[in-house]
Amino acid sequence: MWDGCEGGTADVSDEPTTDTGVVGPHSAPEDVLRLEHIAKRFGPVTALKDVNLHLKKGEVLGLLGDNGAGKSTLIKILCGFQKQDSGTMTLHGKPFEPKSVDDARAQGIETVYQDLALIDELSVYHNLFLRKERVHRPIPLLANRQMKREAREALDEIGINIPRIDVSVARLSGGQRQAIAVARTVNSDADIILLDEPLAAMGAKEGAQILDLVARLKAEGRVSIIMILHNYVQVFEACDRVSLIQDGAVVLDKPTAETSVEELTDIVVTEYRRAREEAHLHDAAPPAPPA
């Protein structure tokens, strides 16, 4: 159905599209991150069946999929919060097996989670520096003034306007909280940023500001971004490429220039109809006779 190659690039697909429509693994020398045959189960529930994904330097990849398709699980595996049951990951061509969130972060992967991972009771600047706190030496007391100053500079630099950074984030609006969560990842040395629904709970104006921020990061070309989105228009506005996850596997992987809202909608609707028919058949099936 599709080969998953970048338009105009010399990607070589060593395992092209399978009969089931699942996108196979790719190999491209410019990939900063590659995932091959990633699977994850939670007890009886299969969250990821066979995910193959790749990310190039400076690229913004949009990850689409229905609720429960496995997008957030994939992000949590990438950032070291969970471990896959099988499959391999490579980062900058080397095997990538993060032991923890800290480990993944040390290797340059930062994440904004769907649930934001912000700490309501902590101030804006403490949230920005959580696990990267500045401390005095030799007595390791928190260098709050330094963190406040650096937080203010970081927020100004990326164009996020928060009037007070010493108040708890519980007092901020949904959009401001999201902006802080995004700023936390940008305010790091990460070269890969994972954004799990960064535009959720945001108004159009606030969402546009986050997309502007993503566009600025893209223009700088320093970081590569994987971003989970639900709004197709935003995908086409912000992303270079789109991967669609269905039922725990990537079923579409195309540059946004080579696909359309209609094509994505068509795939999703087809899957929805198939799932409904399956559910109807299941409901209509006669109960098994007693043994």
Binding site: L116, E121, L122, S123, L142, N161, R164, V167, L172
Partner: protein
């Protein structure tokens, strides 16, 4: 985006912070400014309530505001402040430690047994406290690793170790090692009607160990204030404190940010058990007797938790203050002491204490609302 909608923070009074972008409220009268500053503290409400109660007893009871009465108050409030300090670290996590009553009882018994075995006072005390820390570690491991509810875990540990204390001590009170009072006679010169006479007077002495570890008049108070201040610094100005608040506020979020949640939980339970053991040894030294009776510690642990809650620590976690627990303990001490001095019938004492706790908590909630309305300290 932030400028589009007025942040709730913007409506608050100008607080600490030096970003230069804060909104400055209109100039308030000095007394309102002071009141706002006090209520802006997490401990603000209990400070106000404690002052009101102290002023009330000072006016109504002549013997309240005296040095002698202060000395009476110390033995009650210092142990509660120390127990509360440890409990605050657990309660901010959203957990609770009921086993502090057992550690309070268990530590001096182990201390006594080890001293009897010839280990010496200091070594016996250190080992007894290390054993308390191991119990704290077990509590923490059950909660953090096995996911057992902390109320259930520590209730089990409370009963188990109180039982173990009775088994070890055979339920018999003993004299605390190193706390014995010795008497010496000194010659004192007196001038009577212009004549110098020498009279023998008996003077009580306690050993250096006892003086330092709870036996001295101000020993427990000094320890309590020093430890409370130290732990408040830890809570406010170190990563440990930051992570404790983070876990209590959003455990999953803290874990996702890379905070080692299990380690912090275990560490806080260890701290709580250690402080309970310390208080147990101090109190045994002060009273010169080790009483293997669980009823006292059981009451003490509940009052310590009440003190911490009154002091502004949330039972639901995410927020708390060690200094607040100290002031909460002071409030409970003043209340009990004041009621006794007022001649309240002993049978009514617990009843009035219970009512006062409810009134103080209600005032606390109200002042807390005012605080949040004014933009509190974050």
């Amino acid at each position: 985006m932030a400028s589009a909608a007025q942040s709730p923070a913007e409506s608050g009074s100008a607080g600490a912070g030096g970003t230069g972008r804060e909104h400055h409220s209109v100039k308030l009268p000095a007394w309102r400014e002071l009141l706002n500053r006090v209520t802006a503290l997490r401990e603000g409400s209990i400070i106000v309530v404690t002052i009101v109660v102290a002023v009330y007893f000072s006016i109504n009871t002549s013997s309240f505001l005296t040095g002698a009465n202060f000395k009476t108050l110390l033995p009650y409030f210092a142990p509660l402040a120390l127990l509360g300090a440890g409990e605050v670290f657990v309660m901010i996590l959203g957990e609770i430690d009921l086993s502090i009553g057992a550690m309070y009882l268990f530590a001096p018994i182990v201390f006594y047994k080890l001293d009897q075995a010839g280990l010496g006072l200091v070594a016996s005390m250190i080992i007894a406290l290390l054993i308390c820390m191991v119990v704290g570690l077990i509590n923490g491991a059950f909660v953090a690793i096995l996911g057992v509810n902390s109320f259930v875990t520590t209730l089990g540990m409370l009963f188990s170790f109180e039982g173990l204390s009775l088994i070890l001590s055979h339920g018999t009170p003993v004299a605390t090692p190193g706390a014995q009072v010795t008497q010496t006679e000194v010659k004192v010169h007196h001038i009577v009607n212009g004549h110098s006479i020498v009279l023998g007077e008996k003077v009580n002495h306690i050993g250096t160990f006892a003086k330092i570890f709870g036996g001295g008049v101000y020993s427990e108070l000094i320890w309590a204030v020093a430890i409370v201040l130290l732990l408040q610094v830890v809570l406010t100005f170190t990563r440990w404190g930051l992570y404790t608040v983070a876990i209590g506020s959003n455990k999953l979020g803290a874990a996702e940010a890379g905070v080692k949640v299990k380690l912090v939980i275990i560490r806080n339970f260890v701290l709580c058990a250690l402080l309970a053991g310390v208080v147990g040894v101090f109190e045994a030294v002060r009273s010169q007797t080790i009483q293997p009776d669980p009823s006292g510690p059981n009451e003490l642990l509940l009052i310590a938790i009440a003190g911490a809650v009154i002091g502004g620590t949330l039972l639901s976690g995410g927020s708390g203050t060690v200094v607040g627990a100290l002031i909460g303990a002071l409030f409970l001490g003043i209340l009990k002491d004041g009621l006794i001095l007022q001649g309240v019938n002993a049978n009514y004492l617990l009843f009035y204490t219970g009512l006062a706790i409810i009134v103080a908590m209600t005032a606390n909630v109200y002042v807390g609302r005012v605080r949040r309305g004014h933009g509190g300290r974050e």
